[in-house]
């Protein structure tokens, strides 16, 4: 049991170390490996002309600028921008966190050697010759424990470092599928930003069995949002969109879960169950 835990922990840390090593190579000037295939996500920009139906804000803002925009614009039109780029050869300080990552990498490698030698010794022991050797085994297990503690400290450091740099972001996940017609797409819209996600039959089957899928993860403004959610495909094309209101918290990750299982095509605007939580 204990060995299994150690092995699993090392697998996680080794994967992290490999990833950080790749990042270091990239940062040192090496070329990152070419992508094997084009990313699945794509952005298509469309141009459309429509009447400006901007709603009046709750509180007037930037009044002077709006009232005198012609005057200010005329003043700005007299200006000309000249951009000068100057490169200096001064040495830049390296973020001490990067140095700490390097130290952690070395400590992980050393711990891996220790584990390897301990495993080799254990394999050689088929029978304990005396009680004294049981004491040796105890010492070996104590060593494993101390290595585990060190690894846990490293993981905690990484988690603290990661959480300390969170920016305002929104993650939308979906669960469940509506009864009856299976939708082919889910469309998330706020103002002019539209995200369209295909739902394959395999994904729908997975959702029906309790799976959860992430469909959106973007940086957002920390404010109140009104997000339109609409299903498309077959009979869903005529169903109205549901509007989800939520407030994203500054420098935190806001999760929005959309439960599609109770959606009714006739009354789609009412059947969407949502849940919001923050991290």
């Amino acid at each position: 049991m204990r060995r299994a835990t150690i092995t699993r922990l090392f697998f996680v840390l080794t994967a992290w170390a490999a990833a950080s090593a790749w990042t270091s190579v990239g940062a040192a000037g090496g070329e990152p490996p070419a992508a094997a295939e084009a990313p699945a996500d794509s952005v298509v920009e469309t141009l459309e002309v429509e009447r400006d139906d901007t709603q009046d804000p709750k509180h007037p803002s930037l009044r002077f600028l709006k009232d005198h925009r012609v005057f200010v614009r005329a003043q700005l039109d007299k200006l000309r921008l000249r951009v000068t780029r100057e490169r200096t050869g001064d040495a830049a300080l390296i973020d001490e966190r990067f140095l700490h990552l390097q130290e952690m990498s070395e400590a992980i490698a050393a711990a891996r050697d220790t584990i390897g030698s301990e495993q080799a010794l254990a394999a050689q022991r088929s029978l304990f010759a005396s009680v004294t050797e049981l004491g040796t085994l105890e010492a070996s297990l104590d060593l494993m424990d101390s290595l585990l503690v060190d690894q846990r400290d490293r993981l905690l450091w990484l988690e603290r470092d990661f959480l300390g740099h969170q920016e305002t972001a929104l993650v939308i996940v979906i669960r469940g599928v509506p009864h009856g017609d299976v939708p082919q797409q889910i469309v998330i819209r706020e103002d002019q930003d539209v995200t369209r996600v295909e739902l394959t039959p395999a994904q729908c089957a997975s959702l029906a069995q309790g799976g959860i899928a992430q469909i959106y993860h973007e940086f957002v403004e920390p404010r109140a949002h009104a997000i339109q959610v609409r299903l498309e495909g077959g009979a869903w094309n005529t169903s109205p969109a549901s509007v989800v209101a939520l407030e994203t918290a500054r420098d935190r990750l806001t999760f929005l879960e959309l439960d599609l299982s109770r959606l009714d095509r006739e009354q789609a605007a009412q059947g969407l169950v949502t849940r919001v939580w923050y991290r």
Partner: protein, 190 residues
């Protein structure tokens, strides 16, 4: 008849006495007035979520400026070259209260990284001409704005505060303060 009228008036008077303070309290803004720089981080965070290359090009008080250069709400305007448009953020009580596209072209140059805060700019403007204008014409400060290039003909690269004083029966007073040195560089009436 007269008794009924008296009773009705009495009920109305009580209703006014009870409801009026509640209505006044509901409309009261308890947010602490702050200087312009105080809300900058919140506005910048929001702008960078909108566009990574967004730069501050303009700011202005969205509520009345107090004698110490603070206001309960400031408006910040960011321009993104990649999006080709400007977006305004109104910060109230340390939080983003309103975000909206400006609705017209405003590809102004970004303000410099260092600029004196609204309190210091107001002190300079008051000392030079603002206080005298207020006294002589019964005027008041209506607008403080920060912009680069638009109001300083001799130093178009400079970021400047422009303070606009208005009075009911006199032309407005404009005071332009260099946002780096804190010196008043220009005043005019118009």
């Amino acid at each position: 008849m007269a008794r009924n009228l008296t009773r009705t008036l009495g009920v109305l008077a009580i209703a006014v006495l009870v409801v009026a303070p509640l209505v006044a309290a509901a409309g009261k803004d308890d947010a602490t007035p702050v200087t312009a720089r105080t809300g900058l981080d919140a506005a910048r965070d929001a702008a960078h979520a909108w566009a990574a290359d967004a730069r501050l090009v303009y700011l202005e008080n969205d509520e009345d400026v107090r004698p110490d250069g603070t206001a309960q709400r400031w408006g910040y305007l960011f321009f993104s070259a990649s999006r080709g448009k400007a977006r305004g953020y109104s910060i109230h009580d340390g939080k983003l209260d309103e975000a909206s596209d400006i609705g017209f072209d405003f590809d102004a140059p970004p303000v410099s990284d260092t600029w004196i805060d609204s309190g210091a700019a107001l002190v300079a403007a008051e000392k030079k001409a603002g206080a005298r204008f207020r006294t002589e014409y019964g005027g008041r400060l209506t607008t403080m704005l920060l912009i680069r290039g638009a109001f300083h003909d001799q130093e178009p690269d400079a970021t400047t505060w422009a303070l606009v004083y208005t009075a009911d029966h006199a032309p407005a007073l404009f005071v332009v303060v260099d946002a780096k040195s804190g010196d008043v560089v220009k005043t005019w009436r118009g």
